[in-house]
């Protein structure tokens, strides 16, 4: 039967995706943001092939002189550090690190947050009380200090940075999704689904989830943006993984080198990358907000 075929889960998922893509695209800022994110994503994937030099190898200029603190030029598009490392290569590799942090912590945290939010909101009662008290406790945890403490205690490793971020950041999405779940739960189509004999899990994942999906994506991109900023801040304070390159880490090296007042290019490129990527993510999420919040869309 043609109709039955069309209703298959994957197809409808693609449909939803296309719909979301359309919405992001209908907003000019969302469109710009979307393509910038894609651009960075491509760089992150191709990073090892794109980087012209080893990021930690001293470079020499064409006269064979050691290329310390060179401003941007054709040979070194983003300039060099005081040790003659090629900032352009560092930037490209850092993009990868940043994406790993953003994507991993963004996705894990949204998975945790969404499920906790869905279950707490749907079941209510004791479960809700327990989960939300727990979320409240996390709200009592100052975010960046927690990341710092955890990293200070367990070591400056990328996985601990991600762990520390994930442990805290899901709280917001859990709360928001819970509120949305409660709102949706009270709507009649959920009662209708129950009256039709849908099990609780079926209601949660098949009936409620698609309705919180825009919100979920919105908070996923928020989480990614927050993770990136947090990692950069922690790195800048010296609580990053010194053995991988990240944008925050590059700025930290600048701060440590004491060349802040000389090497503007060293400051400019990682800062711009952070701002550009995070702004783009926020633009995309703003476009999403219109879906999540149909009241905005009407206007």
């Amino acid at each position: 039967m043609s109709l039955a075929e069309k209703s298959s889960g994957f197809r409808s998922f693609l449909r939803t995706l296309r719909e979301h893509y359309r919405i992001v695209h209908s907003n000019p800022l969302g469109r710009i943001g979307f393509w910038i994110v894609i651009f960075f994503l491509v760089i992150a994937i191709l990073a090892p092939w794109l980087a012209p030099h080893d990021p930690w190898e001293m470079q020499y200029d064409k006269d064979g002189n050691f290329a310390s603190l060179q401003p941007p030029s054709w040979k070194f598009p983003a300039g060099t550090t005081h040790l003659g490392y090629d900032l352009f290569s560092q930037l490209i590799l850092a993009t990868r690190t940043t994406f790993i942090i953003g994507a991993v912590s963004g996705i894990i945290s949204i998975l945790i947050g969404a499920n906790i939010g869905l279950f707490a909101g749907f079941y209510g009662g004791k479960l809700d009380e327990i989960l939300m008290r727990f979320t409240d406790i996390l709200y009592g945890m100052p975010f960046l200090p927690f990341v710092i403490v955890l990293i200070a205690l367990f070591g400056r490793k990328l996985e601990f940075v991600i762990l520390a971020i994930v442990l805290i950041i899901w709280r917001t999405s859990a709360r928001v999704i819970r509120a949305q779940t409660i709102a949706i739960k009270q709507r009649q189509f959920i009662t209708a689904a129950r009256a039709r004999g849908c099990s609780n899990l079926r209601i949660i994942y098949r009936h409620i989830l698609p309705n919180v999906l825009p919100l979920l994506l919105l908070y996923a991109s928020f989480n990614i943006a927050w993770s990136i900023i947090t990692e950069a801040s922690a790195s800048f304070l010296g609580f990053g993984d010194g053995n991988t390159i990240s944008w925050g880490g590059m700025l930290y090296e600048l701060w440590l080198s004491g060349k802040t007042r000389v090497a503007w290019w060293w400051f400019a490129s990682p800062s711009l990358c952070i701002i550009l990527l995070v702004t783009s993510l926020v633009f995309v999420s703003r476009a999403y907000e219109e879906v999540a919040n149909p009241r905005l869309r009407k206007r």
Partner: protein, 328 residues
């Protein structure tokens, strides 16, 4: 209202207790030995054991936990591994510095953010609105150390308009907060950190205020207010802004949590002797009692401020008072 406040207060205490317990667990899980920092590797084992005993690290865990809780309540937050000062003494001095900076940052954030938000909603789709939105999003995306560093590089290093950091000129420690506030040098020094914190956090209240205003402006009671023939400014500020503010207040608690994070960065950047700087310093030098105490204090600050925003919200929204007593 009272019921609501008391219940919030109880939640607050439970939360603090829970955070403290989590902290205990986290700090006891740490790899490496806490004593290493105090103890030179050249010291022999007997001396190391003695130092462990001096810091109470030789007792069983559960015993340490109860001692920890008891001490927490009696404000015996231990002594610094490195300076042997009482943690609470260190903190009580740092606390006010942090609060000062935070208050000034938050004031700037809220006053300007809410103000701009109202203006942007009023002049919807104008260049002010669109420019403000984009600027806000960019400021939000720029981590505070980037903004701070930029301000420092331009206004302080290049133009020499502001001092490079600290809270007062070297060697002129004022006696108490009042004396500090009287110092012109203090106000010179608080400008850059305040702007940095402010710029980073202004976006949330600004955009939320704007969106809420737009939402509220579409509501029936605004239409009625207009129908009553009220002046647009009265409609805007008396009727719309107050309702839109409710949404900002609910978000204030989330903001506070994040603001503490920004505070840490800004304090480190501007050598502001607050708890954030202490946090970074003690974590980096593995001064665990201080790191732990500072974290707890920051947590209490966050929880306390969350509590205050709840109460404020309750004050602003008359609907809360009733529903908490179960009549509605």
């Amino acid at each position: 209202m009272l019921e609501y406040v008391i219940r919030r207060l109880i939640y607050m205490l439970i939360t603090i207790f829970a955070v403290a317990s989590i902290l205990f667990v986290v700090f006891r899980l740490l790899p490496g030995e806490a004593t290493l920092q105090v103890i030179s590797p050249a010291m022999d084992d007997a001396v190391q054991d003695r130092m462990k005993a001096a810091f109470g690290l030789d007792k069983p865990l559960w015993q340490q936990y109860f001692i920890y809780l008891k001490n927490l309540v009696s404000l015996e937050w231990g002594r610094s591994f490195v300076s042997a000062q009482r943690v609470i003494d260190i903190l009580q001095y740092r606390f006010w510095n942090t609060l000062l900076l935070m208050a000034s940052g938050m004031c700037m954030t809220l006053v300007l953010g809410i103000g701009f938000g109202i203006i942007m909603a009023w002049k919807r789709n104008s260049s002010i609105d669109i420019g403000g939105t984009i600027a806000g999003l960019v400021f939000q995306a720029a981590p505070p150390f980037v903004t701070g560093l930029l301000l420092l590089m331009i206004l302080s290093y290049r133009l020499g308009l502001f001092p490079t950091g600290g809270m007062y000129p070297a060697g002129q420690r004022p006696d108490g907060v009042l004396a500090l506030l009287m110092m012109p040098a203090f106000w010179e020094r608080i400008v850059l950190p305040t702007i940095t914190v402010g710029l980073y956090y202004i976006t949330t209240p600004m955009l939320i205020m704007r969106d809420n205003m737009l939402e509220v402006l579409g509501s029936d009671y605004i239409e009625l207010a207009k129908a009553k023939g009220l002046k647009p400014s009265v409609v805007m500020f008396k009727h719309a802004a107050r309702n839109a503010l409710l949404g900002v207040v609910t978000l204030a608690s989330i903001m506070v949590g994040f603001a503490i994070g920004g505070q840490v960065v800004v304090e480190s950047l501007f050598s502001w002797p607050g708890m954030g700087q202490l946090m970074v310093e003690s974590a980096a030098s593995h001064d665990y009692p201080v790191a732990q105490g500072t974290f707890l204090m920051l947590a209490i600050l966050v929880i306390g401020l969350n509590f205050l925003t709840d109460v404020w919200y309750c004050y602003l929204d008359p609907r809360i008072k009733i529903s908490s007593t179960g009549l509605a």
